[in-house]
Each structure stands twice: as structure tokens, then as C-alpha cells.
């Protein structure tokens, strides 16, 4: 029983990373219509930036986290403006954007490899909260609590932003139809830039937190999150961030439990089979509404 609870906590913390990462991926897909293969690279670069802030600038945990998150957001805006904006103007649709995002994925990951000297680095101990809480016999590392808490806060914040704010309405409007949105008094370019920034920043948040908890800061960091975050988005449903959060955590728990009680060789198979099942049986995901469609 104790082992089960420990693994449940591990699964939630791992799943929170998938969820955090998936949030931005899903927002970009549902509002901008881009399947962004470079989304993982933002996470890698955010972690590298935060690590540089810790090691070179000697910044403490929180400011370093901010450096990583803002860095991830800015990178996403740059990529959007170079790789997606020209295609958007031309209206060339999803396939072109997928290819340019693959191009940036290749470029950014390779530069990340060069930046880290092809090594997997890690945050020095003491540069992040390393306390281990204990409830009874069950150890809970502070970073796991932080990851889950951050994920909940970000999900709630994004949900309010998208569903309840004027800006959220504008985002949805741009996602629905750019021309109509601009007729309705929304500046689509501004909305696109802010959306890209939010996506990059959440990916960056997942990257920094994941880089710390898994002791792995390298170009492979984002790649690992990419497929699982993508699964979380599909299972959760694209147009509802709450779905992504629930599905992300669910996938994390499922992954940990299947490794513990079944076999780690089949672990990823189970995740992807679930993904495929959702695509076939319930493509709108757990919480998604039926009305999702893009031309």
C-alpha cells in the first residue's frame, strides 16, 4: 500500500509535467491551427537558459525560473514570426506550418546540443528547493509538490483567461476565423504573438521544472516531453485546458503504474494505445466539445 501511494505521487508529479507541457501545445493547435513540432525545443532551451542563469549569473531559484519561462516564451514568438507568420499571410494552412516547425525543431535541437556540449547537464544541488517532506513513511520531495501546484495554478489561470476574459474571447475568435476576428475589432497579429508567448512560456515552465526533477538538461529533454504532452492534449481534448491537465496527470499515473505492476517494456505501448483509442473512439477527448473544426 505504501509503495502504491508513493508511486501514485510520482505519477502525479510526472503527469503534471506532461500536462504543463501539453497546455501550450494544445492552445497553439486549437487557436492557431499549428501542429508545432518545435514545441519541445522551447522546453529544452528554457531549461538551458535557467541553468545558465543559475551557473553564470548565480541567480536563485525563482529568478532563474523566470529567466527560463520568459526565454521559452520569447523563443516561441521568434519562431512564430519567422516560421509561421509568412505562411499565415499566404493562408497556406497546416502542412506548411508543420514543415517549418520541423525545420525549427532540427535547428533548435542541434543548437541546444552545441550549447550544452552534447552533455546532459543538471541543476546543482542547492539551487532549487530540495527538501523532502514526510507524511508518515511516505517521502514527498518539495519539487514534486511544486510541480503539481504550478500545474494546477497555470491550468486554472489559462482556463479563466480563455473562457472568461476579453482576450480569451479574442483568442478563440482568431482561432475561429482571422478575418472575422479583425472585422470585430481584434488585432489578430497581437493575439497570435501573445498566444505564442503563452505557449512557449508554459513549455518553458515544464522544461525548467522537468530539468530539475529529472536531472536532465539537454536537447533530449523536450523530445521526451513532446510525445507524451501530445498524447495528453489528444486524450484531454484540444479546446479545454482542464482536459489536458486531467489527461496529463492520468497518463503520468498510468505510465508509472504500468511500469510498477506490468512491464516497462509495454509502458509506452499502453500510453500510445490509449492515445490511438481516444483518437478513434472519442476524438474530441475527455472534455472537448464537438464543435472543433478548422478549415
Amino acid at each position: 500500500m505504501q509503495l502504491f501511494i508513493e508511486q501514485l505521487i510520482n505519477g502525479c508529479a510526472l503527469g503534471a509535467l506532461y500536462a504543463l507541457f501539453g497546455l501550450g501545445f494544445g492552445i497553439v493547435f486549437s487557436t492557431l491551427g499549428i501542429l508545432n513540432a518545435a514545441h519541445g525545443s522551447y522546453a529544452s532551451w528554457a531549461a538551458i537558459a535557467a541553468l545558465a542563469a543559475v551557473e553564470q549569473l548565480k541567480l536563485p531559484f525563482l529568478p532563474a525560473l523566470v529567466v527560463g519561462v520568459v526565454g521559452g516564451g520569447l523563443l516561441a514568438v521568434v519562431v512564430d514570426q519567422i516560421a509561421f507568420q509568412p505562411l499565415r499571410k499566404r493562408g497556406s494552412g497546416m502542412l506548411g506550418a508543420l514543415i517549418t516547425s520541423i525545420a525549427f525543431w532540427i535547428i533548435l535541437d542541434n543548437l541546444a546540443g552545441t550549447a550544452t556540449g552534447q552533455q546532459s547537464l543538471s541543476f546543482p544541488r542547492g539551487s532549487y528547493p530540495g527538501t523532502m517532506f514526510r507524511i508518515g513513511d511516505i517521502p514527498i520531495p518539495a519539487m514534486q509538490l511544486i510541480t503539481v501546484a504550478v500545474m494546477l495554478v497555470v491550468t486554472f489561470g489559462l482556463h479563466m483567461l480563455i473562457r472568461r476574459s476579453r482576450f480569451g474571447a479574442a483568442m478563440r475568435a482568431v482561432g475561429w476565423n482571422q478575418t472575422a476576428a479583425s472585422l470585430g475589432g481584434v488585432n489578430p497579429r497581437y493575439v497570435v504573438i501573445v498566444t505564442a508567448f503563452i505557449a512557449g512560456a508554459t513549455s518553458g515552465l515544464a522544461g525548467v521544472l522537468g530539468g530539475i526533477t529529472t536531472h536532465n538538461v539537454s536537447f533530449l529533454l523536450g523530445e521526451g516531453l513532446l510525445l507524451k504532452g501530445f498524447a495528453a492534449v489528444v486524450v484531454g481534448g484540444y479546446d479545454d485546458v482542464r482536459g489536458t491537465a486531467v489527461a496529463g496527470v492520468g497518463l503520468g499515473v498510468l505510465e508509472v503504474m504500468s511500469a510498477q505492476y506490468l512491464s516497462s517494456g509495454l509502458r509506452d505501448g499502453i500510453t500510445y494505445a490509449l492515445l490511438l483509442t481516444f483518437l478513434l473512439v472519442r476524438p474530441r477527448g475527455l472534455f472537448g466539445s464537438l464543435g472543433f473544426s478548422r478549415p
Binding site: S120, P124, M132, G210, T214, N216, G224
Partner: protein, 386 residues
């Protein structure tokens, strides 16, 4: 292993090598002066580029030394690098390009066994010697064209585990295994059998995958087995991740690692977590005995401003091994002649690990060093906890 035999060989080898180093150019029959090209399939990008760069650095240094020490008289070895990014398709293309270059005498390649496996038919057909610098699958070498300068880690794992079991006297053992890597699976099984024969029962095997990044769950699972000792058989990233996760969760009993923990970058990454974890190593810059090894460490430090690791040593030995083959030839040798010459090498002249010999194309060394990282970041002989 016939250790007495190897020791003799190693003594003889060391003496011979010392002779060559100090006496300088010996050109009995005389290799024609000039540049001899060796193709080097680099792996300086991709997932395992950190090791790849070490191999390449070591090889470059050796080529330089062969020239400056006039080991081949007026002849020298020139390396021609082509990048593969550890991708089989690109390695094949690079190898075919090498084979097509008539001025090229030999090729060196491969960290990954599947990649090495797919190059074998090409070089065998082209009758071009291939010296593998990193792949560890058994059965890769094939005389007279395929050689491996990688010391196979399997036997060392077993010897290390037995040494540690004698000191720590555990009753049960748990294993963390990279389940998608067959070499490690074999290494774990050999060790496990040896330990079970000594009465150490197996509490369980926790599988991880090479590309995993999160090891918290695996560590929790391994600790849940409540074994007296945990042995880790996994690739570098996975082993480092698993051991760090174990330490993070407060595991205080003995953890046994493997040779992937030896590069300096691992200490930099893991810090405290890796201190005191025993593992076997065939080369470490802080435990070197032969004069060639000492010279190698100093020269490497000077050239690259970093300490050499086991991978640099392997890359370095590849070039020295090819040089040794070339040295026994005269005139303008062909690739086939070089293959024949290399197949006749049974003892290595240029000793870096100590006690090196070639057995059917496979490099071997005598003895096993059981070492661990000290808190100061040096590799030191492992001592059992009291």
C-alpha cells in the same frame, strides 16, 4: 582467463613499447614515407555525442603523437573524419565514401553495435580494415578485417560485483536494468548468476528504458524491493538518472554502478550522488600506471584542457593499433596487407590500460580496477564501507 599468460604478455609489451618510445624511429624494412589516410566515422552530434567527441579527441591526439614521435619513421597517419550522428544510414554512406577513396587504408567507427553490424559487410567486401572504437556487442570482430579496441565490460562487471559482495556481504540484491539494451541484459544476467551462486538471492529486477528521463518511479520501485544492494546495469543517462533518483529518495545502502560512470562529466552532473558508488574501469586518468598512459593523460590535458576518459583512451588506442599494424609493413602497403598485419598482432605495443592484448581481433586487458568517485571528483580505488 589465463591471467599469468596475459601478465607476461603485458610485461613484454610494456618493455617493447618503452623501447620504441625511447629509441625513436625504427625502420627495419621501411614503410614508404608519406601520409596514410584513415577514415574516422565521427559521432560528434546526436544523443551520444558526449562520448563521441571523446573518441574523436583521443584519436586525433594519437595521430599527432605517431607523427611527432616518428613512430612510423617518415610516415604519418592522417585522419579523415565524416560525421554519422550515430545513424546507421549516414554511417553506411560515410563508409562507402571512405571505401571509394583509393588513398585510404583503414576505417574506424561506431559506438552503437547495430551501426557497427551494418558496416561489417561493406568493409569485408571491400577488404578494408575496420577498427571499432566503442561498440561492445560480442562477436563483432572478424579477422582479418574487423577489429574492436573496446574492452568488453561483461567480465569486469562480474568480477566487480563479486569483490563488492565479499566486502559488503548482502543477502538479497535488486537490479536496475536498461531493458531495451541487450548488452546490458547479458551483463546483468552473468552477474546475477554469479551472485546467486554465492547465495545472494535476487529480490527483483526493475526495468528502465534507455531513453527514459524520469527515474523517480523506478527508484521507488527498486527501494520497495528492500534489497541489501542495488546493482545498476544501464546506459550512461539511465544509470546516472537512476542512481541520482535513488540517492534523492534517501537510499543509503550499497549501489553498484558500471563503467559508464567513469567520465568526468558524470561527476560534474551527479556530484554527491555518485560519490562512493563502486564501478569497474579499464582506464582512468587518476589511476594510470604505464609510462604511455601517463604521457597520454598529460598530452591530452594539454591539448584539450580536460582530463581524458575511457572513451578518449579507446579512440587513442584505435590509432595506435593501426599504427602498430602499419609499422610491420614495408613499402606502400595495401589495405589487404594492413588487414593481414593487424590480424597478426597479439600484443599491443602502446599500453594505456595496462596488460593489453588482442585475441581474435578483440582487445582485452588483465585485471579489474574497482573504483569510485571521491568527494573531490577524483576516481580512486573503492574501499568497502566499514
Amino acid at each position: 582467463m589465463k591471467s599469468w599468460n596475459l601478465k607476461n604478455v603485458s610485461l613484454a609489451g610494456a618493455a617493447l613499447a618503452a623501447l620504441f618510445v625511447h629509441v625513436g624511429p625504427v625502420s627495419a624494412q621501411g614503410l614508404a614515407p608519406g601520409d596514410y589516410k584513415v577514415g574516422f566515422v565521427t559521432e560528434n552530434t546526436g544523443a551520444i555525442a558526449s562520448a563521441g567527441q571523446s573518441y574523436w579527441n583521443g584519436a586525433q591526439l594519437a595521430a599527432e603523437e605517431v607523427k611527432t614521435q616518428k613512430y612510423l619513421g617518415g610516415a604519418s597517419i592522417v585522419l579523415d573524419p565524416k560525421e554519422s550522428g550515430s545513424d546507421a544510414a549516414r554511417a553506411i554512406q560515410a563508409t562507402n565514401q571512405f571505401v571509394a577513396d583509393p588513398s585510404l587504408l583503414a576505417i574506424s567507427c561506431c559506438i552503437l553495435s547495430p551501426v557497427a553490424g551494418s558496416l561489417k559487410p561493406i568493409v569485408t567486401e571491400a577488404k578494408t580494415p575496420l577498427v571499432i572504437f566503442g561498440a561492445t556487442a560480442a562477436g563483432l570482430p572478424q579477422l582479418p578485417y574487423v577489429y574492436s579496441m573496446t574492452i568488453l565490460p561483461g567480465p569486469k562487471d562480474k568480477a566487480t560485483a563479486l569483490t563488492i559482495v565479499d566486502a559488503v556481504k548482502p543477502k538479497t540484491a535488486a537490479y536496475i536494468l536498461a531493458a531495451d539494451n541487450d548488452a546490458f541484459k547479458g551483463r546483468m544476467n552473468a552477474t546475477r548468476e554469479a551472485l546467486e551462486a554465492k547465495g545472494v538471492t535476487t529480490a527483483g529486477v526493475v526495468s528502465v528504458l534507455t531513453k527514459d528521463t524520469d527515474f523517480t518511479a523506478a527508484a521507488t520501485q527498486a527501494m520497495g524491493l528492500k534489497a541489501d544492494i542495488i546493482l545498476v546495469y544501464a546506459t550512461q543517462g539511465a544509470a546516472a538518472g537512476a542512481i541520482t533518483a535513488l540517492k534523492d529518495r534517501g537510499y543509503a545502502k550499497t549501489i553498484v554502478g558500471n563503467d559508464v560512470l567513469s567520465p568526468a562529466s558524470i561527476f560534474k552532473k551527479m556530484g554527491d550522488s555518485v560519490v562512493g558508488v563502486p564501478f569497474p574501469v579499464s582506464f582512468s586518468d587518476s589511476i594510470v600506471e604505464t609510462p604511455e598512459a601517463k604521457a597520454f593523460v598529460a598530452a591530452y590535458q594539454k591539448k584539450f584542457n580536460a582530463a581524458p576518459d575511457i572513451y578518449s583512451a579507446q579512440g587513442y588506442q584505435v590509432v595506435w593499433f593501426i599504427a602498430q599494424g602499419l609499422k610491420s609493413l614495408s613499402g606502400k602497403p595495401t589495405r589487404e596487407a594492413l588487414g593481414q598485419a593487424l590480424s597478426k598482432v597479439t600484443k599491443i605495443d602502446h599500453q594505456v590500460y595496462g596488460g593489453e592484448a588482442m585475441n581474435n581481433g578483440q582487445a582485452e586487458t588483465a585485471g579489474t580496477l574497482v573504483v569510485a568517485w571521491s568527494a573531490e571528483g577524483k576516481i580512486v580505488p573503492w574501499v568497502a564501507p566499514k
